[in-house]
Amino acid sequence: MKHPYIPHTEEDIREMLDFIGVSSIDDLFSEVPVSTRSSLNLPKSQDEFTVFTHLKGISKRNADLEEYTVLLGAGIYKRYVPSVVYDLAMKPEFLTAYTPYQAEISQGTLQALFEYQTMVCELTGMEVANSSMYDGATALAEAVLMCFRLTGKEKVLVARSVHSEYREVLGTYLKTRGFRIDEIGYDDTGRVVLEDIDDETAAVVVQYPNFFGVIEDLEYVRKKTQNTMMVVVVEPVSLAILEPPGNFGADVVVGEGQSLGIPMWLGGYSLGIFATREKYVRQMPGRLIGETVDAEGNTSYTMILQTREQHIRRAKATSNICSNHAHAALIAAVYLSVMGPEGLKEVAKRSYDAAHYLQEKLEERGFRKKFSGDFFSEFVFEVPEDYPERWKKMMEKKILGPLPLERMYPELGSVALACATEMTTKDDIERFLEAMR
């Protein structure tokens, strides 16, 4: 054996090569350009101990956010996860990369995903949810593509108050395919301003609460989008105390599910939430788990409407997303069931209260709030011009402060986006205010 993890002997390899009529392993890869084959530039293999030591050295260079005061959100949040969540979610039975195509051997995973879908529907006020996508940004891109399929139109209006990275991902997905993206502005409240929408427009995309933390007026958005599909990007914890977008008649609700028990993990992997109306289900991307009965009449679970998907319809699939973040969805299902509706409300309320307390304290010190609209747990405030440098300096004191926005929103001048969660303490806020002196 040439390699400890590849079980084939020299004879095995010879026999296989002879069988397919290829003289050597190199010939097997002759289709791949030589330049590509030799460009990996990997060091020689080393023993486990040496590799571990090396990797630990690299990982020590990462900041451990447990030790930090974190007042930065912008899409990924420092939240508390009860330890029982991981005790359950990390059971080896759940830690499989296997897609649960065979219902007879996957009932546990299938039921967990079904429960996840149900809870997503309850949170968003929608009728169907898929069993996850990669993350919030790709879920949004898939939602817009779905609106194009349903309407036959090729233009989308996206609020500038939607996370700029989501807008970038959307651009990556759409622009090479000839679709058009137009931007919608915002006013002094921080909420979107919608003009009359032409009939070339497939969908309007807003975020709720938006990137500035401001709670959009979805009733107004729905009124303005009578003949257009309405796509809403959400933060799931906020929906425990905000009216769900489904109640305002949203057509698609997507979002980043990291808040639901998933660590920050350097910004990923995370969880893409996708929910819509039942009438659109055949155009919905991703996997769907359904509840049924088995031959003996027992409740059981299985993947359904698979004919939309790539393994059946190949190039003509509804979407070419052929994988999902099933384990992240499972973690979210466990987290939500541990918290319960009341627990999640508590998380949302504490986040809201902490953010509003922080905002008051900043205002007292002369750092004014930028927008007048109601906010949930994030807000934009005015900062001195040298704030970006200060922000970097604060990190040395283990404070991850509010995000400077000049790169994303140059039109706003010197402002930063602050965030508080249920984990933000008075001490955290004091430390930050001290650093802002």
Partner: protein, 124 residues
């Protein structure tokens, strides 16, 4: 004059004057297995011969239905929305999928008659 023709993509076409009624053949429904959903075309849609106009989902596969001729869709079988199983029960009768107005009669010569279609299926 009435005549019934077939395509190599397993549609049957019943022609009556300017109107063609289209469905999938009995052979095709057997291959597909239990049909659970039919995605019907829009009435009024102009199609070219060979365009995908409808799709049929069964418990194990999805298959497209192609326009056997060019023309305009004039009617669809709405019963299939609630009773997709009609395709299994009576593919070449009550399980018809759509009717169309024929735009170019010269295209008829590309279609197979019953004998030719039978032979075509046996070769596969």
């Amino acid at each position: 004059m009435r005549m019934k023709k077939y395509t190599r993509t397993h549609e049957w076409v019943e022609i009556e004057g300017k109107v063609a009624t289209v469905g999938i053949t009995n052979h095709a429904q057997e291959e597909l297995g239990d049909v659970v959903y039919v995605d019907l075309p829009e009435v009024g849609k102009e199609v070219k011969k060979g365009d995908v106009v409808a799709s049929i989902e069964s418990v194990k596969a999805a298959a497209d239905v192609y326009a056997p001729l060019s023309g305009k869709i004039t009617e669809v079988n709405e019963r299939l929305e609630t009773e997709p199983e009609l395709i299994n029960k009576d593919a070449e009768g009550e399980g018809w999928i759509f009717k169309m107005e024929i735009a170019d009669e010269s295209e008829l010569s590309d279609l197979l008659d019953e004998q030719a279609y039978k032979e075509f299926c046996e070769q596969k």
